[in-house]
């Protein structure tokens, strides 16, 4: 079988498996956990597109997530717009913020971009508390409408959008765009010597990354029916980065697997209550120590090698 058809077949089977989850476990709790896991999948894949491909680590992906979620909150709660608008507006505002963050920092070499993203997210988290008149402060905005009323329908909407996001990001990563982004990771000066406008590609990659992060933020907000300052939290950004590394950096689909795996793991460890963080951390250390290339993507590459 040709390489690409094996990939498409595997992607199709994975999509079918995810679509079958609500039928295998007819349980609203599990469907809810999986809906959140899929949101994390969008966030991890979008982080990977910018940072996994170009090697410019973004330590504040939660900035785009929070901006997307709050956009959804403002439009829906404060202005009473239909929640469907959020799916358009949230990516829009996230892209706006990516330009504000990317323009000054991605032209520079060194750690400025990573640091600016880290502090940008922290600043936004504090702004939501300072401007509590509009944002609800620590309580956040409550009473968002769900985009679709039934949890099952919401799960399928999230699944559909996540699959679309992954397919778009993967096709871009496999195109000449992806080749250029990986070359930027390899050597920025050589890229310029090859006639490539490095700054343009980095900013464009960040815009695309932010758009999908914002979309995921809106989906998450209308699922939780609430948005709060924690959506900007640094720990959320770090969790996403961990998911990407567990899944396999730069593969786009791997991070989605990592996100689902770690979300399901967190939930299933509720049984061991107080030892939960212990066990979770040990498993993480084990994975990252023995499989520094990640779990999902290298595993699939091996299976793929056997199939061909």
């Amino acid at each position: 079988m040709r390489g690409s058809s094996v990939d498409w077949l595997a992607a199709f089977l994975a999509a079918v498996a995810l679509a079958a989850v609500p039928w295998l476990f007819a349980n609203n709790y599990i469907v809810g956990v999986m809906t959140v896991a899929l949101c994390f999948g969008i966030w991890a894949a979008s982080w990977d597109f910018m940072s996994g491909l170009t090697g410019r680590e973004n330590f504040g992906h939660s900035l785009f997530i929070g901006v997307g979620a709050y956009t959804a909150g403002f439009l829906n709660v404060n202005y009473g717009l239909s929640p469907w608008w959020s799916l358009v507006a949230a990516p829009g505002t996230a892209v706006l913020f990516s330009l504000i963050m990317g323009f000054p920092t991605l032209r520079l070499k060194g750690p400025y971009f990573a640091l600016a993203m880290l502090s940008g997210a922290a600043v936004m988290q504090n702004l939501t508390i300072i401007f509590s008149v509009y944002t609800g402060g620590q309580d956040g905005l409550n009473g968002l409408d769900p985009i679709l009323d039934s949890p099952l329908a919401y799960y399928y909407l999230t699944l559909l959008l996540m699959l679309a996001a992954v397919v778009i990001l993967k096709l871009l990563a496999n195109s000449s765009w992806g080749t250029i982004l990986r070359a930027i990771r390899g050597d920025e000066a050589s890229c310029q010597a090859a006639g490539i406008n490095v700054t343009f590609y980095k900013i464009a990659a960040l815009m695309i990354s932010a758009a999908f992060a914002g979309l995921g933020g809106a989906l998450y907000a209308h699922y939780q029916l609430q948005v709060g300052p924690d959506l900007f939290a640094i720990v959320l950004s770090i969790n996403i980065i961990v998911m990407v590394y567990v899944g396999g950096l730069g593969s786009i689909y791997g991070p989605v697997g990592g996100a689902i795996l770690l979300n399901v793991l967190t939930e299933s460890l509720r049984a061991v209550s107080e030892y939960r963080l212990w066990v979770y951390t040990l498993i993480l250390i084990f994975i990252l120590f023995f499989m520094p290339q990640g779990l999902i993507a290298p595993l699939w590459r091996r299976v793929r090698g056997l199939l061909q």
Partner: protein, 257 residues
């Protein structure tokens, strides 16, 4: 003939160090010129100034009749002035083919057929065709040099700046690369400016030499004349306080004859 590249009064300071002092020279289309000088003479700085990797303090650079001042490196490459680096800088983690493909995606050339196919043709041209799918991380140094040249050629330059293309290569690797450079010059009419310390090979390739020392141009001329030029001899060997027995060195100081 109007020159392809005209450099006038080019200067660059790094703090207290005057790295390039008031340099002027011109290169004709299709010419092959050597840039000679001891370590620290400012040769690589000149390359970095011409290609936009450094900005110059004063002076002017005109390429193809248009000024280059203030342009970022990628814009200069897309005008047709490409370079290689002293230490090969491949895109780690990518294959040989992908490395060249990136340069085929530059705006200057991305409409000339399919980038991947062009990259294959270029690899054949530099003799790396059979290594297209090798990941560059495991490539020997000689092949990395060829890769650098293929990547620069991919942007279809009119002037190519080669920064020590023979550095770190064994004698058996130098001749094929030198042949490749003269073929490129003859077949494509490509103008080349080349920094090199291996004088024997350099003198065979070039028609003219620009000699630098302490950031200044100390001599310009034909290779045979340059190696006997007192300022060049002084730069390489030191001031002549030569006794009678040292006249051999004085007559053929660089062993180039």
């Amino acid at each position: 003939m109007t020159p392809l590249l005209r450099v006038e009064g080019l200067s660059k300071r790094f703090g207290g160090l005057h790295a390039v002092k008031n340099i002027s020279f011109a290169l004709d289309p299709g010419s092959v010129t050597g840039l000679l000088g001891p370590n620290g003479a400012g040769k690589t700085t000149v390359f970095n100034l011409l290609t936009g990797f450094l900005s110059f303090d004063t002076g002017s650079v005109e390429f193809d009749g248009r000024p280059l001042a203030g342009l970022p490196p990628h814009r200069i490459v897309n005008r047709g002035l490409a370079r290689t680096f002293q230490l090969a800088r491949p895109f780690q983690g990518m294959t040989v083919l992908e490395n060249v493909e990136v340069a085929c995606l530059a705006p200057r050339v991305n409409r000339e057929g399919r980038p991947r196919q062009r990259a294959r043709v270029l690899l054949d041209q530099v003799g790396l065709g059979n290594k297209a799918d090798t990941v560059v991380d495991v490539l020997p140094y000689g092949d990395l040099r060829r890769l650098e040249i293929a990547r620069a050629l991919a942007t279809r330059p009119r002037l190519l700046l080669l920064d020590e293309p023979f550095a770190g290569l064994g004698t058996s690797e130098i001749q094929p690369l030198a042949d490749l450079i003269s073929v490129l010059h003859q077949r494509e009419g490509l103008a080349i400016l080349i920094i090199e310390h291996k004088l024997r090979e350099l003198m065979r390739l070039v028609r003219a030499v620009i000699a630098m020392d302490f950031g200044e141009v100390v001599a310009v001329g034909e290779p045979a004349m340059i190696v006997r030029h007192p300022r060049v001899v002084e730069a390489y060997i030191g001031k002549a306080e030569l006794g009678q027995g040292d006249t051999d060195i004085a007559r053929d100081p660089l062993g180039a004859a």
